[in-house]
């Protein structure tokens, strides 16, 4: 499809002999927020980490099947380029502790040896921090260490760092599970704004968050993609009984 950004077809992933993602077929459209949920060990985070080829960084981890960014097979692309195009934000805010706020935002450029004029870098920093709804809070302290910020601000700094590379897709692995409700709310608000320009894929254990922020939801169980549908449909009338049992808390 023309608007499909990420697509998988019969995609599988393993840790050694452990088959953790089984024959997943999915199409994720541009400028949508996708929530990925399922019980612990269902393969959702592994699938997420396959999308930007972080899965293969773990010894013994393998993958097979088709996984595309637009029309290009992710597993035949340069992994560094894949991670430019598919950014990632993790569960715990992880700004580089020794870098300033400013340098954290442009860390992707600096660490990859991409040189640019200071003025261009200033533009990227302001634009990224503004997109991450952090600019107003930190514009007067750009050269302080990122770790001086609150947890919620640090997470938004990590989002700004991902945005700075101008990715197509941003992956979020339980991005608010370490945040308080106010910080969670500001990050969720950010999702709505970010989807104007990016496609967001969010692994979350918080079903209410999935319901609040996503356009579509994918439910994984025991490595399988059980159901992928509009979030409204999923939370009012899921078609698979396993989805219903999970979201209603009746999972045995």
């Amino acid at each position: 499809m023309e608007h499909t950004v990420v697509s998988a077809s019969k995609f599988n992933a393993w840790f050694g002999d452990n088959h953790v993602v089984k024959d997943v077929t999915i199409g994720i459209e541009k400028n949508q927020v996708i929530a990925v949920m399922g019980p612990s060990g269902c393969g959702k985070t592994t699938f997420l980490r396959c999308i930007n080829r972080m899965h293969e960084l773990i010894p013994g981890a393998t993958a097979k099947g088709s996984l595309k960014l637009y029309d290009d097979e992710v597993y035949t692309m340069n992994p560094i380029y894949v991670r430019y195009k598919i950014g990632m934000v993790f569960q715990r805010p992880n700004p580089f502790p020794n870098l300033s706020i400013y340098d954290n935002v442009v860390a992707g450029y600096k660490l990859n040896g991409l040189k640019m004029a200071k003025a261009d870098m200033d533009v990227i920093v302001e634009k990224s921090l503004t997109s991450a709804a952090l600019w107003k809070e930190v514009k007067d302290s750009l050269h302080k260490k990122g770790t001086f910020l609150s947890g919620g601000q640090q997470q938004r700094l990590c989002i700004a760092r991902a945005i700075a590379m101008e990715p197509e897709v941003i992956l979020f692995d339980e991005p608010t599970s370490a945040l308080d409700p106010i910080s969670t709310s500001s990050v969720e608000q950010l999702f709505h704004e970010l989807k104007e320009n990016y496609t967001l894929i969010i692994v979350t254990h918080n079903m209410q968050q999935a319901a609040r922020v996503s356009d579509k939801t994918a439910f994984f169980y025991m490595g399988e993609l059980v159901e992928f549908d509009d979030t409204k449909q999923m939370f009012t009338a899921p078609t698979d009984v396993r989805t219903q049992n999970y979201i209603t808390g009746r999972f045995s």
Binding site: A211, F235, T236, A237, P238, Q244, T248
Partner: protein, 229 residues
């Protein structure tokens, strides 16, 4: 069971208790009408407050469950259905009270022949039976039984449509029976509403169990489009 399941089970029991009370109110109003028993009619009016109390309690319970448990899927559908069923039952309670009020205020006894010739008794019995069957459908989550309500409501509608002519015959036969005949017509209209409320309840049961919306469809379509795939 999860805490939410416990809450929903308790709410379901409460709705069934309300249902039984409303059904009893409707039956007592009928007995009061047929026997012209003013004491029984007064009892219906007093117990109407209990129906109203049930409605408020169920509304509040639903509100609490929404706020505290954020229900989804079948639980969400159950709560949405429970809210609407609650309103429908309360309205049927109002209808029973309305029938009883006339008995309390009226000085004229009813001619049993007129009640029969207008099919009022038959209609009344069918309305009560429909209400009982909606309760059974709710308790057993039986959507086949719920679907049968649509056709049976058509029977009540037919009696209602025919009522002006039949009531006119009663008046023609005895001009002194005008107040009584008008009351019979009014009860027929009320019972037609009981059928409509029961039909709404049946739609809610199907929505809750099967996630299918049958509102505003013709009853023949409800059978075809609503059935399980």
């Amino acid at each position: 069971m999860t805490p939410l399941e416990n809450e929903i089970t308790a709410l379901k029991k409460e709705l069934i208790s309300m249902w039984i009370l409303v059904q009893s109110q409707l039956n007592k109003a009928k007995d009061a009408m047929v026997q012209f028993d003013k004491d029984l009619a007064r009892e219906v009016l007093i117990k109407e407050k209990r129906v109203n109390a049930f409605e408020l309690k169920i509304d509040r319970d639903c509100e609490n469950i929404f706020a505290l448990y954020c229900p989804v899927a079948v639980d969400l559908r159950f709560l949405l259905a429970a809210l609407k069923i609650n309103t429908n039952l309360e309205r049927i309670g109002d209808i029973a009270a309305g029938i009883a009020l006339y008995i309390v205020e009226s000085s004229v006894n009813f001619d049993v022949k007129a009640l029969e010739s207008t099919s009022l008794i038959r209609m009344y019995d069918e309305a009560v039976n429909i209400l009982i069957d909606t309760r059974t459908a709710f308790e057993k989550e039986d959507t086949v039984l719920a679907r049968s309500i649509f056709k049976r409501d058509d029977v009540l509608d037919a009696i209602n449509e025919n009522a002006p002519l039949v009531v006119a015959e009663v008046i023609k036969a005895d001009m002194n029976s005008i107040p009584e005949a008008l009351y019979i017509l009014s009860v027929i209209r009320k019972l037609e509403r009981v059928g409509d409320q029961s039909k709404n309840i049946a739609e809610e049961i199907i929505f809750y169990v099967e996630a299918k919306i049958l509102k505003h469809l013709e009853s023949s379509q409800k059978h075809i489009e609503g059935e399980e795939d």
